[in-house]
């Protein structure tokens, strides 16, 4: 399995050769608590790095999910619409949110390695 990369806003990215899978981190799902709803983006939508692309709602609040990479949405995880708890149960696996075809793969270099991400969440 490819190594994951991370953002300071708690998304993860898995590079599968020009297409990346995106989700939220285990730390994010722990912070949010039980997730009860997700608003998924439309397939074919072009997004820029940093755009709000999805909304996850926990029992307590709604939170934006930001595009970690610029590109076009090629796939969304419709299983989450029926069962948002997958985001809690398996955030790096069956809880993936979307797949993007990258428009600027060099942006991958700006993402955090696992240890840097772990350091960034310890600071808070």
């Amino acid at each position: 399995m490819n190594q994951l990369k991370y953002t300071k806003t708690h998304e993860w990215v898995r590079n599968d050769n020009l297409t990346v899978a995106v989700g939220i981190t285990n730390h994010a799902q722990e912070l949010l608590g039980d997730l009860v709803f997700i608003e998924l983006p439309l397939i074919g939508k072009a997004v820029k790095k940093g755009d709000s692309v999805a909304v996850v709602e926990s029992v307590k609040a709604a939170s934006d999910v930001y595009a970690p990479i610029s590109g076009t949405i090629t796939e969304v995880n419709t299983a989450l619409a029926e069962n948002p708890a997958l985001l809690n149960q398996d955030p790096y696996g069956s809880g993936w949110i979307m797949k993007l075809s990258m428009s600027n793969p060099e942006e991958l270099n700006s993402l955090l390695q696992e240890e840097d991400y772990n350091l960034s969440i310890e600071e808070h």
Partner: protein, 356 residues
């Protein structure tokens, strides 16, 4: 510096996720707040609510003082060991707080006030008590543990002694009883049957641990909030405050108009508002997949907009529910605006579950 209840270390030991609640560091959840919610609906759960303010009102003037102070009438209490839910209003009928008052004996009443309103409540009560033969005493030496759910009387007796068990076995709704240093009240904020137990801190820690050992699930403030929302209980500071009256807030039942000469604080203002209401509280149910939240706009045909005061996910109904303040003439349908999209909602009474 945050304040801690006597059970704080035990919450940390249970790996509770903690949150700040009006200066108190309280458990939000011990894992899954939905599981905690469902435990209270289907089995039994326990809550640390020691952050709430306990105020004892002692002395021969207590009854007359409370008849002046509160919208509900303590003369309606059938006997010592009974309780009622009430609002406390200012002269304009604005709600200063909502509370439960317990009559312990003819000369002794106990009030449970919200944590977030403690200072203004105490200042108000102190001021209004002038001229009455009463003494006021807050009880920071006591903890409050709520044990709530349909199996409360099946599971709790395992940790009670015979005298305590006897005492609670005959307790009716909105009654209370004291056995040694334990105060048991059959009240709660979840819409389920249950008890609220007030006891000294040094007894609270072992009582809490025994609850957990007896299979009573520890529950945090997140579950408390979703439970009270399903039950349609208003939350002070969120669903109503001093800019609203009980009449506008679904709390008319807390006002006792007779006898007319009781003249409680706010009575005149409430009387003149009574037949000219412009707003009311309703429940909203959303059948689409989205979640309603506080402060979202409620759009009603031919009426000014309303506003959601509390919204969220109902684990029991598995859809989003909300409490909303809307124009008085609002009928059965409306739309809610969620992130620039409009959703149809059904308007209901603000009570989403069958009461148990």
């Amino acid at each position: 510096m945050s304040m801690h209840t006597s059970l704080y270390q035990l919450h940390l030991h249970e790996n509770a996720k903690m949150t700040n609640f009006f200066g108190w560091e309280m458990p939000l959840s011990y894992g899954s707040s939905i599981q905690e919610h469902n435990a209270v609906r289907n089995d039994v759960g326990c809550f640390d609510v020691s952050h709430m303010t306990i105020l004892d009102i002692l002395g021969a003037g207590g009854r007359q003082f409370l008849r002046k102070l509160l919208t509900n009438d303590v003369d309606r209490l059938p006997h010592p060991g009974a309780a009622l839910y009430t609002c406390m209003c200012n002269e304009h009928g604005g709600i200063i707080d909502d509370l439960i008052v317990y009559q312990r004996s003819p000369d002794s009443y106990r009030l449970i006030l919200n944590a977030g309103t403690k200072d203004k409540d105490l200042a108000w009560i102190e001021d209004k008590s002038q001229g009455f033969a009463v003494g006021l005493q807050t009880r920071p030496d006591l903890s409050i543990i709520a044990v709530q759910g349909p199996n409360v009387f099946a599971k709790l007796p395992a940790i009670l002694n015979p005298a305590q068990h006897d005492a609670i076995s005959t307790l009716k709704r909105f009654e209370c009883v004291e056995i040694e240093q334990y105060f048991f009240a059959r009240t709660g904020y979840t819409g389920e049957d249950g008890l609220e137990i007030i006891l000294p801190h040094f007894l609270a820690t072992s009582f809490w641990q025994q609850c957990l050992k007896a299979g009573i699930k520890p529950c945090g403030l997140a579950a408390r909030d979703s439970l009270r929302l399903e039950a349609g209980y208003m939350l002070y500071g969120q669903d109503m405050d001093e800019s609203n009256t009980p009449l506008e807030s679904g709390l008319s039942f807390t006002i006792k108009w007779k006898p007319q000469d009781r003249d409680f604080i706010g009575m005149g203002a409430l009387l003149s508002q009574k037949d000219h209401l412009k707003q009311k509280m309703v429940g909203l149910i959303l059948n689409d997949k989205a979640i309603m939240r506080a402060n979202q706009k409620v759009i009603i045909p031919n009426q000014p907009d309303g506003i959601i005061t509390s919204g969220g996910y109902s684990p029991t109904l598995e859809k989003s529910i909300a409490l909303a303040r809307v124009p008085f003439e609002t009928k059965s349908t409306a739309k809610v605006e969620i992130r620039d999209k409009l959703f149809d909602v059904t308007i209901t009474s603000p009570r989403f579950i069958e009461s148990n």
